[in-house]
């Protein structure tokens, strides 16, 4: 229902402003406005990836299931972080911080598994 309202608003929005939302974002004073359409596309992508991951898990591919599930989850996270969390338009320092945080997590994972594997 809320999606319908949003789409309705989008139609309303267009005639009022001649420029599309994305172009409007470039205007001074309006910090990084993303269009409604972008969000809907990202959402569609996320739903599609969820369908793919459930389908692949149902095929009983053994060890491939875990890898594909994690790859798909990572792609979904990338979409959420980049578009929903607006990191695409954020400052370089924030991107560096996020990178460092993920790197710390990867280091912890690698160290843990190098320990587990060689016991």
């Amino acid at each position: 229902m809320a999606e319908q309202t949003a789409e309705h608003a989008l139609e309303h929005y267009a005639p009022e402003h001649s420029a599309p939302a994305e172009q409007h974002a470039a205007g001074a004073g309006h910090a990084h406005m993303q269009g409604y359409g972008t969000y809907f596309m990202v959402w569609l992508g996320l739903v599609a990836f969820t369908a793919v991951t459930v389908t692949i898990a149902g095929l009983n591919l053994g060890s491939v299931t875990l890898i594909t599930a994690l790859v798909i989850a990572s792609v979904k996270s990338f979409l959420v972080i980049t578009y929903f969390m607006h990191v695409k338009n954020d400052s370089a320092i924030l991107k560096v911080f996020i990178g460092i945080c993920l790197l710390v997590f990867v280091i912890i994972m690698v160290l843990t598994f190098s320990d587990l594997s060689f016991r």
Binding site: M1, A2, E3, T5, A6, A9, Y13, A21, H30, M33, Q34, G35, Y36, Y39, F40, V42, W43, L46, V47, T50, T53, V54, A57, G58, N60, L61, G62, T65, L66, A69, L70, I72, A73, K76, S77, V80, I81, Y83, F84, M85, H86, D90, S91, I93, L94, F97, I98, C101, V104, F105, I108, M109, T112, F113, L116
Partner: protein, 212 residues
């Protein structure tokens, strides 16, 4: 000249109301990093035990209802969309649309928790809980799986409740025009928190429901 000076002073005063949106956002992200590492620690624990007890994890996950898990995934993804749209709506001064979308997000949070309630009730009804009768017939791997399952989805559920409260407070700010189309960093921060809750579920879902 005098008038110009007055204008300048006035402008100066307006400009001096201290507000650091960038700093606010950075602070929120720093908090989110601690959340990522909190759940990250649990994911490391999960990985270690799954590595040690692969069969136990597969056997235990067979009891999971993948359908409810998938529905909950869709609910959270949709709620993330509605928060993102709410911010876009407020940026365009569409206050009514923004508040409707935020209410919709809270509703999604409730729907998610109701599904979780049914899931947990089902498991607890089957005797799966700390020191529950079902654990006697389980291998160590299965018991560890359910321990991690209750801990991680429980902690995630708490985050859903906190996120709903956060968005509720933000809603009250928007109704009182404390958050507006030119001053919406608080809404952005609530959105960031909600997306993080979604992000964590994106990993919890395949790791607990899609093991074969």
């Amino acid at each position: 000249m005098n008038q110009e000076n007055e204008l300048a002073v006035e402008h100066h005063e307006v400009g001096h109301v201290h507000r650091d949106d960038e700093g606010s956002k950075l602070g929120m992200w720093l908090f989110l990093f601690t959340e990522i590492l909190l759940f990250g620690g649990l994911f490391v624990l999960y990985s270690g035990y799954r590595f040690a007890y692969p069969e136990g994890f597969v056997a235990a996950a067979a009891e999971m209802n993948t359908f409810i898990g998938a529905i909950n995934t869709l609910i959270l993804l949709t709620s993330s969309l509605s928060v993102a749209l709410a911010i876009a709506a407020l940026q365009r001064s569409q206050k009514k649309l923004c508040t409707s979308l935020l209410w919709f997000t809270i509703l999604c949070g409730f729907a998610f928790l109701i599904n979780k309630y049914f899931e947990w009730s089902h498991e607890i009804g089957n005797g799966i809980y700390p020191k529950g009768p079902a654990l006697d017939n389980m291998s160590s791997g299965e018991i560890i799986y359910f321990g991690l399952y209750f801990t991680m989805t429980g902690l995630h559920g708490l985050h859903v409740i906190v996120g709903m409260t956060f968005i509720g407070i933000i809603l009250s700010f928007i109704y009182r025009d404390k958050i507006t189309s030119t001053n919406y960093q608080k809404l952005e921060n609530a959105g960031l928190y909600w997306h993080l809750v979604d992000l964590i579920w994106i990993f919890l879902f395949p790791l607990f429901y899609l093991i074969h």
